[in-house]
Every structure is written in structure tokens, then in C-alpha cells.
């Protein structure tokens, strides 16, 4: 990364749920464009809270979060929602897909909520479908695209790969993944991580990958231990 600029910046962040003591108290943290960060920590340490903060669903009581140089934690909720639709891809543990949409429609879902991502997808490919195909093929889902199988009949590994394609459609700058491999067995897990990382590298996507499974950390450039970073961890 020769031309690195910070994509995610956290400044002296403190967060507490209403009527509870703080759960997160983080020092400064900066993640560069294209970095692939493994964020580890035992459950209950506030990983999900941090992801919700980065996703702009909640805002900290103190400190600031800047994404792509924008102070999103100071914005109104609707503006944060729009920012998330435009610039963030999000990957859950499981149940990522809407059962009533086809594989292609699930993949293209973000383009319904973000004109920017739709435009980006169309800039590189002739059609939205071609753009989806360009993501699904490297994820080894190209053949499934031509079947009419409901997405609920796909294996969990396949479903997670569709979700990865959805998170990456329209080239968002940041991908937040919340334990996306926890429901997968060892073989599909390694395959999934390899495919995900290579796609992120290809599109210069900054990846924050949250997991408690340290054995996965070898795949990543950088490993952050929330347990050590979070100054609240001793309290809870």
C-alpha cells in the first residue's frame, strides 16, 4: 500500500448503552485503505457494539469515528443510513439472505438502496446482472445463477458467499464482517476466507473481520485484539 490514507479513524471513543456503564473505551485507531484487519476478542467484549458503531447504527458518547474522512458519528441518523448504504458492505454470521428474493436479487439488494452503488456497478459492467455475475463467478456461484433454486435451499457456505457478493456489489469502500464463518465447517471456512480476501484485494476494499477464532488470523495483514485495546474490558 504505497498510497495509503486512513479509511477508518477512531478517536478516544467511549460508548455506553443507556443506563449502563461504558462497554467500550478505545484509544486512537486508524485503518488504511485496502487493509485487511482481523479484529479478535472473546464474546461479550463489545465486538458487535464496535461494528454497530462503525456501521453508523449507534453513536458514541465521547470521541469520534471518521469513515473516509467523514465525521459520521456526528451526523443525524438518516445521513448515517445513507452513508452506510453507499459506502459499507455488511456480512452477518448467518441468515444474510431474504428468502423471497432470488440469488441475483439478493446480490443486487444494495443497489436498490444506493444510487451510487448502482451507478458504480453499471460503470464497470454492461448491466447489473453482469456486475453480479462478475462477483458470483469468482465466489464459485456462477452456475447457480442460472438455476431458479430458492436461496433457502442453498448450503450455508453458499449462502454466505452470496452474502459476500451482496456486501461487495457496487464496490463499497469498507466491508464489515461479523463472524461470517462461525456457522461453517473447517473446509468451507478456509475456502470462504480465501475467496473473500482475494475479492477484497481485487477491489481495494478495506476489510474489518471480527471473530473470536484466532486460528483465522494468519490470513490477515493486521490483527487487533479488542481485549487489549478496550480499556473497559477489566470492568466487565
Amino acid at each position: 500500500m504505497s498510497l495509503s490514507r486512513p479509511v477508518i479513524e477512531i478517536e478516544q471513543l467511549i460508548f455506553a448503552w443507556p443506563k449502563h456503564p461504558p462497554v467500550l473505551d478505545l484509544p486512537n485507531l486508524s485503518i488504511q485503505a485496502g487493509e485487511q484487519v482481523f479484529l479478535r476478542g472473546p464474546s461479550g467484549i463489545g465486538k458487535s457494539t464496535l461494528l454497530n458503531l462503525l456501521g453508523g447504527l449507534i453513536t458514541p458518547q465521547q470521541g469520534q469515528i471518521r469513515l473516509l474522512g467523514q465525521p459520521i458519528s456526528t451526523w443525524r441518523q438518516s445521513r448515517r443510513d445513507r452513508f452506510r448504504a453507499d459506502h459499507l458492505g455488511i456480512l452477518f454470521q448467518q441468515f444474510n439472505l431474504l428468502p423471497y428474493l432470488s440469488l441475483l436479487e439478493n446480490t443486487l439488494l444494495p443497489c436498490q438502496f444506493s444510487a451510487l452503488r448502482k451507478q458504480r456497478a453499471l460503470n464497470e459492467h454492461a448491466s447489473l446482472a453482469a456486475s453480479a455475475q462478475a462477483l458470483l463467478e469468482p465466489l464459485q456461484l456462477g452456475e447457480l445463477l442460472h438455476t431458479t433454486r430458492p436461496v433457502t435451499t442453498l448450503s450455508i457456505g453458499q449462502q454466505q458467499r452470496v452474502a459476500a457478493a451482496r456486501a461487495l456489489i457496487g464496490q463499497p469502500e469498507i466491508l464489515l464482517a461479523d463472524e461470517p464463518t462461525s456457522a461453517l465447517d473447517a473446509d468451507t471456512r478456509d475456502l470462504f476466507i480465501e475467496l473473500l480476501l482475494s475479492l477484497c484485494r481485487l477491489h481495494q476494499t478495506t476489510l474489518v473481520f471480527v471473530s473470536h477464532d484466532l486460528s483465522l488470523s494468519t490470513h490477515f495483514d493486521r490483527v487487533l485484539d479488542l481485549n487489549q485495546m478496550n480499556r473497559c474490558s477489566g470492568v466487565t
Binding site: A85, D86, F92, L98, Y100, F113, D178
Partner: protein, 419 residues
């Protein structure tokens, strides 16, 4: 685009959505039917008697007089003298008069003694219609009888059938005027008024069958045959009540006062409109109860929708989290759930209205032919539109409950739905 997504989501839950829709549709159909029933009952009630300015009888009370003279309900307590009727009906202000004598019946249907004025002046309905004959004509011979539509249908009578009038109003009356049978010469068209359930004979015939009766019993040893009776003076001695039509409505109150102060005997004149209004006050309790009940049915329908929406919300937390992740705002999700409830209610309204029209259309011929109730298949009335609007508003308000739940979920769950 978003609408399409919402539609697909709803289709995914089509069985429960369809059930909700049908529940609402049935309750709306019931609401509309009850409302129509109310309106038409009210209309036909107030149109039982139209064009009559005064109803006169022996002094009792305005309600009893109205009930027995117009609705064939209850017993007349006293009669009034024929001479009084003669005098009043020939007053200057009077345009026409219809005498009525009551007290006999035939198999549960009342027999009314009257004269040809009944066919010439009795008016009913919104258009002030006169009675008309489905078959035959008015009575001409002494023992001729005209029968109302419903009575004819219920008893299976045709023209020419013999009818024996029973003395008194009891259904199981043993004292029959069997020595002087009548013959049906006319069958009336249905009117939707108590006339449908009546049998009409002339005042002279009434006098004839009671020649050998005094004070409700047959005179012992006196027997006058049907043909012998024709030779007697059959001028009535008394009648039960009479209706008056005046030359000018301005004279109504003046005439009413002079009848109420009539010297020869205590009489009472009532304004049918006012008395009907009084009676309706009593009946409207039932009317309001009906409306309340159908409102409860609609409430039950909406509660059903609420139950379906709330239970599906639990299953939809993941769906909501996914939509949130791709950028749907909580406000949009709130709108979505409310919109779904609004759409279900609207669908229910349309389907319910359609079912209702089908129902009306299928029964309107039967009602018109057999009961004289003429339903109009028109656009919904203002009142019905208001009812429908109230249902739609309630549907939206009910939809706000699960929508606020969904809104809360999207805020607390964030990107990690608790399952």
C-alpha cells in the same frame, strides 16, 4: 423499487396475509349489511304511512293509536261512533278520509274493515305510492276480500279461494264467522308495510258478519244467514280509527285541536310523522345495538390483523436487520409495516364491499318480489363511505403498533438480530 420489495415480502407471507384480508373483508361486509339494514328499516318505517295528515281514534295515547291503526300491533281499546266519523270527515278542511275497523283476524293475519278510499288514498313509500293489485280487483260484492302479498304467500292463497274470518285476534280463535265465508277477489302487490300482512274487507261486510253478535259473543238463538244479511241495514255503527288527508297542511294543527276537543265523545288526533318519530326513539336502541355489534366485528377483524402482524414481526427480525444493513432507515421500515397494514385493510375493504354488492345483487329480486323492499344497487352512501374511512383509519392506527415494534427492533438489534 422499495414497494416491489415490500410486495415480495408480503407475498412470501401470503397465507397469513390472505387470511387477514378475508377476516377484514367479512367484517366489512357485515358492517355494510347492518348499516344498509338500518337505513332501509328506518326508511321503510317512516314510509309506512305517507301523505296522511292525521290519524284519529278513541282517546288512548299517541303510541297505542299509531301501533294498532298503522302497524297492526296491539289491541284497540275502544271504538268511535260512525256519526263522529261522518261529521269529521265532512269538515271543510278534509280532503279525504279512510275508515278502519279492527278486531278480527284470519289465521294470525289481521282483518281490516274499510272502504274504497283505502285503495284510493292510502299512500306509502318515498314516492307516496298507492296500493296496486298483483291480481284481481277491490271488493265489490259484500263477501269479497282483498289480501296482502305476504299473507297470500304465507297462506298459499289464490284468487277465488274461500276465507273464513275468525272473531278476535287470537291465532287459535275457535269462534269463527263460518256462516259467512269470504272469497278472495284481489291480491295486492308487496309494499314493505303492514298492509302486506293484512286482509281487507268492506265495512258493510264487517257489519254483516257481526249482525248476530253482541259484545264479543254470538247471540243465542239468533242466526242470520249470509244471504239474509244482505237485506239488513249494513251501515256501520262504529269504527276503530280513521286517517285524514287535508286540503292544506296549514289546517293540520287547527283540525287536530278541534278533534281533540270534540264534544260528542273523547277523540284523539295524532300527527303520524311525530308519532313515528316517538316510536323510532324506542326502536333505535336496537338499531344502535346492531351497529355497535358490527363495529365489534370489525374490531375483531383488525385485532386478528394485529395478531398476525405482531407474530410475523418476530420472524422478520432478521429480514429487518438485513434491510437495515443495506441502508434502509428505521423510518422507512416503520412506513413499510404501516403500509402493509394499510394495504391489507384496503384490500379487505374492497373485497368486503365487493362481497356486499354480490350479496345485495343476489337477494334483491327475492326482497322486491316477496317483501316489497326495493334495494338500490348504487354507489355507497356518504354514511357508508364514512364507515369505510373509519375502518381504513383504524387499520392504519392498528398497523402503527407492530410498526413501532419493528422500529424499536431496528434500533436495538442494529446489525445483530437476536433470534
Amino acid at each position: 423499487m422499495f414497494f416491489q420489495l415490500a410486495w415480495r415480502s408480503l407475498l412470501n407471507r401470503r397465507s397469513s396475509a390472505l387470511l387477514t384480508l378475508i377476516t377484514i373483508a367479512i367484517s366489512v361486509m357485515l358492517l355494510l349489511s347492518v348499516d344498509k339494514l338500518r337505513e332501509d328499516t328506518r326508511a321503510s318505517f317512516f314510509n309506512t304511512l305517507s301523505g296522511t295528515d292525521l290519524v284519529v281514534g278513541a282517546r288512548t295515547g299517541s303510541l297505542p293509536l299509531l301501533l294498532y291503526s298503522v302497524f297492526n300491533i296491539g289491541q284497540p281499546t275502544r271504538n268511535l261512533r260512525w256519526s263522529s266519523y261522518q261529521e269529521i270527515s265532512q269538515m271543510e278542511a278534509v280532503d279525504w278520509s279512510i275508515p278502519i275497523t279492527l278486531g278480527d283476524s284470519h289465521r294470525g293475519f289481521r282483518v281490516i274493515g274499510t272502504d274504497h278510499n283505502y285503495f284510493a288514498h292510502y299512500r306509502f313509500g318515498r314516492n307516496k305510492q298507492l296500493l296496486s293489485f298483483r291480481a284481481g280487483h277491490a271488493f265489490e260484492d259484500l263477501y269479497d276480500l282483498v289480501i296482502g302479498a305476504e299473507a297470500a304467500r304465507a297462506l298459499g292463497y289464490e284468487l277465488g279461494d274461500p276465507v273464513v274470518v275468525a272473531h278476535g285476534l287470537g291465532r287459535g280463535s275457535f269462534t269463527q264467522h263460518s256462516d259467512k265465508p269470504f272469497r278472495i277477489v284481489g291480491i295486492l302487490q308487496p309494499t314493505g308495510t303492514p298492509v302486506d300482512r293484512s286482509l281487507l274487507i268492506s265495512l258493510e261486510a264487517w257489519q254483516a258478519i257481526h249482525l248476530d253478535w253482541r259484545a264479543g259473543t254470538r247471540l243465542p238463538g239468533v242466526s242470520i244467514s249470509a244471504d239474509e244479511a244482505r237485506n239488513y241495514d249494513l251501515t256501520p255503527r262504529e269504527i276503530t280509527a280513521f286517517m285524514l288527508g287535508l286540503n292544506s297542511p296549514l289546517a293540520t294543527f287547527h283540525l287536530q285541536r278541534s278533534i281533540n276537543q270534540y264534544r260528542a265523545e273523547p277523540l284523539q288526533a295524532i300527527l303520524p310523522g311525530v308519532a313515528l318519530q316517538e316510536l323510532w326513539q324506542v326502536l333505535s336502541v336496537a338499531e344502535k345495538t346492531l351497529l355497535l355489534m358490527s363495529a365489534c366485528v370489525v374490531l375483531a377483524g383488525l385485532t386478528g390483523m394485529l395478531a398476525v402482524l405482531l407474530s410475523s414481526l418476530k420472524e422478520r427480525r432478521r429480514e429487518l436487520a438485513v434491510l437495515r444493513a443495506v441502508g434502509a432507515s428505521p423510518g422507512r421500515i416503520l412506513l413499510w409495516v404501516v403500509g402493509e397494514a394499510a394495504l391489507l385493510t384496503l384490500g379487505g375493504l374492497l373485497l368486503g364491499s365487493l362481497l356486499w354488492y354480490l350479496l345485495l345483487w343476489s337477494v334483491q329480486d327475492t326482497l322486491a318480489l316477496d317483501y316489497g323492499i326495493f334495494l338500490q344497487l348504487g354507489w355507497p352512501s356518504v354514511n357508508q363511505l364514512l364507515l369505510l374511512a373509519a375502518v381504513q383509519t383504524s387499520g392504519i392506527l392498528v398497523g402503527l403498533i407492530p410498526a413501532l415494534g419493528a422500529y424499536r427492533y431496528t434500533l436495538t438489534d442494529g446489525l445483530t438480530p437476536r433470534i
